[in-house]
């Protein structure tokens, strides 16, 4: 054809926007993932504040039941599907190839596809607010047959979650091949950084569990739109079936949401204690153990259905505490006799340790089946999930952002602002979520749009609401730190923290090809070896 345009040679550069849209570079895709998921974190956070405003006082009319059901459903959906799960893909994308000394992910274009499924899915999910009947309002768990009775927003939710499922599944395959095949010479599996290991186990969980969610979404879609009867007892279906299939995905999904956070904490603690991670291999086996057990505990979400084998699932749920306990002890062992400093990444990692501990302990109450009868579907469970996913995952997210900000953007986040951010968030978090334990024990069910003050629930709810707003306020020092950082030039050296892993061997930010030179790798801490001239490995 005569009209083929010949690319201009030299001096020509694509507009930056086009460059970001067409990129297949894992670092740029990682950054896109981080930006997009933080955007949805902000949206989900605003929805959370609306929820807390409504619940601040008894018999409130700030929003009506119809709106309330939409905002709490979309809060959870955004936080889980559009923030926590994809932000790990963001960290993973940016870091895994750097940490194993690879040029890029194994399949860069599929990587771009994974990312580009994500923003449209978010828009589709939120477009529910514009349709007749409103957005999804069956909770993020979308229990059937309730989900069958709701409006178009539910279909949009199903389509969005299915798209995100495809995104995570192919992303998981990509991570696995990258880690199996793209490691630099000397980087054996048991020298991979812990963060990579947690991404590996997370990817296995995603790869095997997410398609099961897809099958559940297919079934509910057919029930809703093609007169199907999977979940409709009037057509011989089974109302509990949805819960079985949904939780078969969604319990492993809880580990998908926390394991990479554990990985990040396990990167930060050794660096700021000047010691290796205590029990590197034990930690890996514990991670695998959590992953494997994760597939055998789904029915602990269903004890009150009366349709599951309670002692078995109670026991397996308790067993999850064993590898989790091993991890907690390993983290303490890492701090033991270290030279601990308290930079912001370390503060968030320590915040993770102390809060995730509570998230583990209050989980034990659900494993004790008869206690679960009382606390199931009450605010106690809301407290539990937030101690795990906020006290755990979100603290890890911010720890990771403060830790890798110099690497990704070449600038350091202001320490004072970081300390203020941490202090406000830590206090706000406990104010917001600790009272929920007591509310739950006192019988306040979750997902209720309003309550009367018959049982004196108002005081604790008010405290919780104030805590939630304090968390909101704590974001301002973070934003200030980011703005201040971007006003400064890129001045960070390769390795500002005296860290251990390979990403710190290259410039900050790294060049397009990641490394000019890869140091020799003799252990899981190649940079430590380089600094101290010793082989510290296994």
């Amino acid at each position: 054809m005569a009209s083929i345009a010949i690319p201009k040679q030299g001096g020509y550069s694509r507009p930056a926007v086009l460059d970001w849209i067409t990129t297949v570079d894992h670092k740029k895709l990682g950054i896109l993932y981080l930006y997009t998921s933080l955007f949805f974190f902000a949206v989900g956070g605003v929805l959370a504040l609306l929820v807390r405003t409504q619940l601040a006082v008894a018999d409130n009319h700030f929003v009506d039941n119809h709106v309330y059901n939409q905002i709490f459903t979309m809060h959870a959906s955004a936080m889980l599907f559009l923030f926590i799960i994809p932000i790990w893909a963001g960290f993973g994308n940016y870091l895994v190839p750097l940490q194993i000394g690879a040029l890029d992910m194994a399949f860069p274009r599929i990587n771009a596809l994974s990312y580009w499924l994500f923003p449209p899915a978010g828009l589709i999910m939120f477009s529910g607010f514009l349709v007749n009947g409103g957005a999804a309002q069956a909770g993020w768990t979308a229990y059937s047959p309730l989900a069958k009775t709701l409006g178009t927003g539910m279909d949009l939710w199903i389509i969005a979650v299915a798209m995100l499922g495809v995104s995570s599944t192919i992303g998981a395959a990509n991570f696995l091949v990258t880690m199996f095949r793209m490691r630099a010479p000397g980087m054996t599996m048991f020298r991979m950084p812990i963060f990579c290991w947690t991404m590996l186990v997370t990817s296995v969980l995603s790869l095997l569990a997410t398609p099961v969610l897809a099958s559940a979404l297919v079934m509910i879609f057919i029930d809703r739109n093609f007169g199907g009867n999977f979940f409709d007892p009037n057509g011989g279906g089974n109302a509990v079936l949805w819960q079985n299939v949904f939780w078969f995905y969604s319990h492993p999904a809880v580990y998908i949401m926390i394991l990479p956070g554990m990985g990040i904490v396990s990167e930060i603690l050794p660096v700021f204690s000047r010691k290796p991670l205590f029990g590197y291999k034990a930690f890996i086996f514990a991670t695998m153990g959590i992953g494997a057990l994760g597939f055998s505990v789904w029915a602990h979400h269903m004890f009150t259905t009366g349709a599951v084998l309670k002692p078995w699932f109670g026991f397996m749920t308790g067993l999850i505490g064993v590898p989790t306990g091993v991890k907690m002890f390993n983290w303490l062992g890492t701090l033991w006799r270290g030279q601990i400093t308290f930079e912001p990444p370390m503060l968030f990692a320590l915040g993770f340790l102390s809060m995730f501990l509570i998230g583990g302990i209050n989980g034990a109450f659900s494993a004790a089946v008869p206690v679960d009868f009382a606390i199931h579907d009450t605010y106690f469970v809301v407290a539990h999930i937030h101690y795990v996913l906020f006290g755990g995952s979100v603290f890890a997210v911010f720890g990771g952002l403060y830790y890798w900000f110099p690497k990704i953007w070449g600038r350091k986040l202001n320490e004072r602002m970081g300390q203020l951010h941490f202090a406000l968030m830590f206090i706000g978090f406990n104010l917001a979520f600790f009272p929920m334990h007591l509310l739950g024990l006192d019988g306040m069910p979750r997902r209720i749009a309003t309550y009367n003050d018959y049982n004196n629930w108002q005081t604790l709810n008010m405290i919780s609401t104030m805590g939630a707003f304090l968390i909101g306020v704590s974001m301002f020092p973070f934003i200030a730190a980011v703005v201040m950082a971007f006003l400064r030039p890129k001045d960070q050296p390769n390795d500002p923290w005296e860290a251990n892993t390979l990403e710190w061997a290259t410039t900050s930010p790294p060049p397009v090809h990641n490394f000019d030179e890869i140091p020799e790798i003799h252990s899981e801490r190649p940079l430590f070896d380089l600094r101290h001239g010793t082989h510290s490995g296994h």
Binding site: G101, A102, L103, A106, F107, I110, T169, I170, A172, A173, N174, L176, V177, F180, R181, M182, R183, A184, P185, L207, L208, A209, T210, P211, V212, L213, A214, S215, A216, V218, M219, I222, D223, F226, G227, G228, N229, F230, D232, N234, G235, G236, G237, N238, L241, N244, V245, F248, H513, N514, F515, D516, E517, I518
Partner: protein
């Protein structure tokens, strides 16, 4: 340079990165069908009758199912279709063996026959659908039947498209004894689709 190290380890592996990724993808597909099968078996275990004819009668009374609906399957035609699909698994494997020996003509014929058999299977399934005395809403049994076979059919169609792409590329002379990874991937996928069908046929038609 890092790239040297990374590519150096690649060549030693028996499976290429692409194939490994593709196998992981098939693993996720197995889990997808696993979810649908699990739903079928849970519904089955939960019903006093299977197929749930009692439920269908109730639905007829309630007016939610057609009076003419009947929960029964004819085995003859699907049995022939099963043989055809199994045969196509052999022909596609034969095609792979031919290109491994460098025989491009064999590859083209093998792919062509496999695609033709696949399309025959789909046509027979569509004809079978048109003859069935129940619709997707007539009890959970019917819903599960159409969902399982329908999603399998979609995968057959996907596999046929995959093989057609390989066929066009083969006719363009793009494959050789050394380079025919796409053909192997297509054959893996086709075998997977075949195995799913055998499981489906056994579950739906034989065990019932």
């Amino acid at each position: 340079m890092a790239a040297h190290g990374a590519t150096a380890t690649q060549h030693k592996e028996p499976l290429s990165n692409g194939m490994l990724g593709f196998i992981l993808f098939i693993a996720s597909e197995v889990m997808f069908f696993g979810g649908l099968f699990a739903a079928y078996f849970i519904a089955r275990a939960d019903s006093p009758q299977w197929p749930p004819k009692d439920v269908l009668e109730q639905m007829k009374v309630a007016g939610t199912a057609a009076q003419s609906a009947e929960l029964k399957l004819e085995v003859a035609l699907p049995l022939i279709a099963t043989c055809i699909l199994v045969l196509s698994s052999f022909t596609v494997q034969w095609a792979v063996m031919q290109i491994q020996k460098g025989n491009r003509t064999g590859l083209i014929w093998g792919l062509f026959i496999s695609i033709a058999l696949g399309l025959t299977f789909l046509t027979m399934q569509m004809y079978d659908y048109s003859q069935l005395p129940f619709s997707s809403g007539d009890t959970v049994w019917a819903t599960a039947f159409y969902t399982l076979t329908g999603f399998h059919g979609a995968h057959v169609a996907g596999g046929a498209i995959f093989m057609s792409v390989c066929l066009v590329r083969a006719m363009g002379g793009q494959f050789s004894a050394e380079h025919h990874e796409a053909v192997e991937a297509a054959s893996f996928y086709w075998h997977f689709v075949d195995v799913v069908w055998i499981a489906l046929f056994t579950t739906l038609y034989i065990v019932g």
